[in-house]
Symmetry: C2
Subunit: 113 residues, 2 copies
Amino acid sequence: MPTLDTAFSALSDPTRRAILARLALGEATVLELGKPFKMTQPAISQHIKVLQGAGLIVRRVDGTRRPCSLSKPGFEAMDQWLAMLREAFEKNYDRLDHVLAGMKLENGEKRDE
Amino acid sequence: MPTLDTAFSALSDPTRRAILARLALGEATVLELGKPFKMTQPAISQHIKVLQGAGLIVRRVDGTRRPCSLSKPGFEAMDQWLAMLREAFEKNYDRLDHVLAGMKLENGEKRDE
């Protein structure tokens, strides 16, 4: 089962990130995905397997083709986790804004300056 | 130097994600960070080192204390990379909306239904 462990681990490799970036433009076959890389087909297939196992891509059957595309649920799980950190930074900045506004008032400056 | 490789790799461990989640609430010392885990102090310190090396946390000197806190630049690098995937999903949904709207019109239904 895909987990945050396998999802983040899958993203730690530049080739796998490049594959996902290509898929962001639309679905593609393993052959198409392999073209930009100086890599054997089995090596690319292995990366695809890791991304599938991590729940980041899915493949569909289209006659003899099996095109890959991005999988939203795997991505959303990571994005939700990172949203927690994003909110923490935003809260810290809000606090800093209040502190700075308070400092300005203490110095007798106007709040709008 | 921190890279996306080391940043995503650092997030693939549940203890390290728990440490970051704790730091999202505010800065903490290594001793404080270790409390919720059944782990030796050196094991926690090793996780902290990985997070520091990945550019995800920073430490400051406060007398004899060296509290850790989240580092915004390391987080932003990952967030920007993931934003590229986020936009791809949004575009796909927009395209799907248009397709569905077109199908409804073809079926003689009103667009607002």
